[in-house]
């Protein structure tokens, strides 16, 4: 139990520290690397929550796929001039006030509902232990959520075609 607590706080530190560095760095490459740290922390949290398949997906897809895409675009687009300019826009004060209001609402909700979130520890029914996490996810994905799965594949096809069309010089 203690090791869980320590690991949670380590991963939480990685997630929040990486997130804060992501939105404050001037250099976009530094932001991307901080974002990788943050995403790895999220992957660790998935592991703590016994979502092993999502842990692998997070590392392979996010850190290995999306972040490489980001770094490629940072290389393609010349960001040197942007790094010399102002980094925050003029509405930052309004934005901070709005976000603080949303944060106060969410914190109040979590604080009030604190007792409602304790069903995890004393729930009696457990998932069948003999079946692995990947198998459970696959069962659910291909039985209950087959139509959304197919629609997601169409979405990916549209995204592929769309990004090729966007990045082409002349169509």
């Amino acid at each position: 139990m203690l090791i869980d607590t320590v690991l949670f706080y380590i991963f939480a530190l990685l997630v929040l520290g990486g997130g804060l560095l992501t939105i404050t760095r001037r250099n976009a490459v530094h932001s991307a690397i901080s974002l990788i740290v943050s995403l790895l922390g999220v992957a660790g949290l998935y592991l703590l929550q016994q979502a092993e398949f999502l842990f692998a997906v997070q590392i392979v897809l996010y850190v290995g796929g999306i972040m490489v895409l980001f770094l490629f675009v940072i290389m393609l687009v010349n960001l040197d001039e942007a790094a010399k300019e102002r980094q925050f826009n003029r509405q930052w004060l309004v934005a901070l006030v709005a976000v603080a209001a949303v944060g106060a609402q969410l914190s109040w909700f979590i604080y009030k509902g604190k007792d409602a979130f304790h069903f995890a520890e004393n729930a009696a029914v457990a998932l069948p232990e003999a079946v692995g996490n990947t198998e459970q996810v696959a069962d659910s994905l291909f039985r209950e959520y087959l139509l959304p799965f197919e629609i997601a594949s169409v979405l990916l096809l549209v995204a592929v075609v769309g990004s090729v069309v966007m990045a082409k010089k002349r169509i």
Binding site: T5, F8, A12, V15, L16, G19, T22, I23, R25, A28, S31, L35, V42, L45, Y46, Q49, A51, F53, L54, V57, L61, Y62, I66, L69, F70, V73, L76, V77, L79, A82, E85, Q87, Q91, A95, L96, A98, V99, V102, G103, L106, I110, H118, F119, A120, A123, N133, Q136, V137, D139, S140, L141, Y145, A152, V158, A159, G162, S163, M166, A167, K169
Partner: protein, 102 residues
């Protein structure tokens, strides 16, 4: 020390969501705005995974997969738009793209 419960994870994902929102609303660089959107989507995913664990149901993890699919599609299309934009306007600052502003 308190055992880590669902509420700790929810507080963490709230903080991550707010960090991402601040990034989207205040930064000028479009690449970093897109990265902040990834932070927001990850906050949502933490929520889904935590409730999936708490309710002993695997549906939350399936929905997290759909959210990741969306994030991939969004990142690919967004970065494609960014490249097209940079080719035409030579800028990556969001508030300099103001053709539709009066």
């Amino acid at each position: 020390m308190h055992p880590i419960g669902t509420v700790h994870y929810l507080a963490l994902s709230t903080a991550l969501l707010l960090i991402g929102t601040v990034g989207v609303l205040t930064r000028r660089n479009i690449v970093i705005i897109l990265m902040s959107i990834e932070l927001i989507l990850n906050a949502v995913n933490i929520n889904l995974i935590v409730f999936s664990h708490a309710l002993h149901s695997v549906s939350g993890q399936v929905f997290a997969i759909f959210v990741i699919t969306d994030a991939v599609a969004e990142a690919a299309v967004g970065l494609g738009i960014l490249i097209a934009l940079f080719r035409n306007k030579e800028t990556v600052l969001a508030d300099e793209i103001d053709l539709l502003k009066w």
